[in-house]
Amino acid sequence: MSLKGAIELRGVTKRYGGDRVVDRISLAIKPGEFFSFLGPSGSGKTTTLMMIAGFAAVDEGTIDVDGANISGMQPQHRGFGMVFQNYAIFPHLNVFENVAFPLRARRQPEEVIRKRVRWALDLVQLGAFADRFARQLSGGQQQRVAIARAIVFEPRIVLMDEPLGALDKNLRYDMQVEIKEIQRRLGMTVVYVTHDQEEAMNMSDRIAIMNRGRIEQVGVPSEVYERPANAFVGRFLGEANLLDGKVERCEGDQVRLRVGGLVLRAKTHGTLETAMGASLFVRPERVMIRAAETGGPGGNRASGQVRRVSFLGNIVRYQVEIAPSVHVMVDVQNSGRPPLAVDASVALDWAVDDSLVLVG
């Protein structure tokens, strides 16, 4: 396997009118990496992908692939595989001809085409559907055709624009596993755009969280989830408690934060000043909840009243008021025990290492 398929973005910018929809993005994607752009709609993630693909012009900055600047190159010369949001399976061609399209456009000999298409269709388990047309296929099958078409000519880089957006939830998970498996087997670089955080975390080697045209954080899924760089990332990726307060004292990498009437401790990865505003971040599943009388271990403690109980199936989510209008969300695995009642007095605790002080 050759180590090819590195992408480097340097100061890449896209303007529509006066707005920068993509604002000076710089990052390096490694060969063979599964890299996702994750963000809300309008965050510039799709525009970034379209600039990599060549469908949108780069207004500032450069995009390099394996050291060569491709910023001004026509899409058809970039040699990427592409999977589109609406699949874009050609309606006038059958499955075989759809998958053969990139090979025919490259003027490959007939026997090569036959062999490669068979290989690609077998890879996505559509060997028996070669003669069908798109309208005779389910959404999941069309998706597989789109993937087979994107990999049939063995590109070093495959770009995917929300490819699973139109599928229902169960099918989506299966396809995630399948795409990841194909990517791992072929060792290609995949650049993936999604607004679904579970999808991004399940498949990606690294994730770039985008917001308003900028990258808020880049990292492996667990890192981005556990140690968000700021409040936006914490809130966007999974559920999060963000309690607003004021910095009281810094002791090395620990901070004392005043929230309501309470003083809570948390980690920090930045430098903070006394009395500045900040938020305490802690994931709901890291907070322990117990009936008020019993004391427990843990670094941060608070007591309060249950204000809401939400039954979500595998978990029960409590909203606990620990100070006037300061609420903490707590997730408890559904173990079959009856949940705590609304207005019950409870004690909460969580480890200092599980909480972070975030600014912004």
Binding site: G54, P75, F84, F90, P102, R104, A105
Partner: protein, 283 residues
């Protein structure tokens, strides 16, 4: 009872009743009456068949049918080759350019066909603008015969029928999802390859519909060939008019009309099949 009655009254199908009534009274009834009247004039059924056969196989009708179909074919091809790029431009340009070009195409058609045909005659005549230009620049010494021959008829009809082709093609092209062509480029197809193997096939039903519409309209054309054609370029509609107005030979006119109607209906059946196929393709 009342429920079903009010449901019937609310059926939107009722809205087409006036149109159908108008068509029946203004078109079907006179046509049927015309045929019955004229065929009765011929006498027995046997006479009728004989008359029909002799009319259809007469030299004048055969020649007119050949001329008509030949001109209609030429006009269809010319409108296709002239109309495809214009329709492509319309379907793939922004709002301003689209409005501007469409305006230029449509506005001349607000004036009557006769006015437009006469303006062509001003352009194409022996001392017309085009001939003056050709002689003035020294390209030709003698005026070129652009009028009162097949060339004149074809030019005039191509112009009159061009919008039908453009608008039919435009409708088909507008329905093509631009993501298909984009996907083709993304998968390595050059502009020409993507056009030939994606855009053209996806617009093919529009090409077929446009050609059929123009051909159907062209074989029944009267004013333009009558004004711009020569004595040897008699189209079937002119022959029918001559039989009715000059020869007062209604039976021949009826037979020729039936022939024209039959050809048109066959083509329309093909057209119907084509548009049906398009719907099946989901494009």
């Amino acid at each position: 009872m009342t429920a079903s009655r009010s449901a019937l009254w609310r059926d939107p199908a009722l809205l087409i009743v006036p149109a159908i009534g108008f068509l029946a009274i203004g078109f079907v009834v006179p046509l049927v009456w015309f045929f019955i009247e004229t065929l009765q004039e011929m006498g027995s059924f046997e006479d009728m068949i004989l008359e029909a056969v002799s009319t259809i196989s007469s030299r004048a009708v055969v020649n007119a049918m050949i001329t008509t179909n030949w001109i209609a074919l030429l006009v269809t091809l010319l409108t296709l080759f002239a109309g495809y790029p214009i329709a492509y431009f319309l379907a793939n340009s922004d709002r301003l350019r689209f409005t501007l070009v469409l305006f230029c195409i449509i506005v001349p058609y607000f004036t009557s066909v006769i006015v437009r045909t006469y303006s062509w005659m001003v352009l194409l005549g022996r001392n017309g603008i085009i001939n003056q230009f050709l002689i003035g620049t020294g390209i030709v010494d003698e005026p070129v015969a652009l009028l009162y021959n097949k060339l004149g008829v074809v030019i005039g009809m191509t112009y009159v029928l061009l919008p039908y082709m453009i608008l039919t093609l435009f409708a088909a092209m507008k329905a093509i999802d631009p993501s298909y062509v984009r996907a083709a480029h993304g998968l390595g197809a050059s502009r020409i390859y993507a056009f030939r193997h994606v855009y053209l096939p996806l617009s093919a039903h529009g090409v077929l519909s446009g050609c059929l519409i123009v051909f159907i309209l062209a074989i029944g054309f009267f004013i333009t060939p009558a004004l711009m054609g020569g004595p040897s370029d008699v189209m079937i509609a002119m022959l029918i008019e001559r039989s009715v107005e000059i020869m007062l030979d209604w039976p021949s006119a009826a037979v020729m009309s039936l022939l024209l109607l039959a050809v048109t209906l066959v083509l329309y059946a093909v057209y119907y099949r084509v548009t049906d196929v398009r719907r099946m393709m989901g494009a």
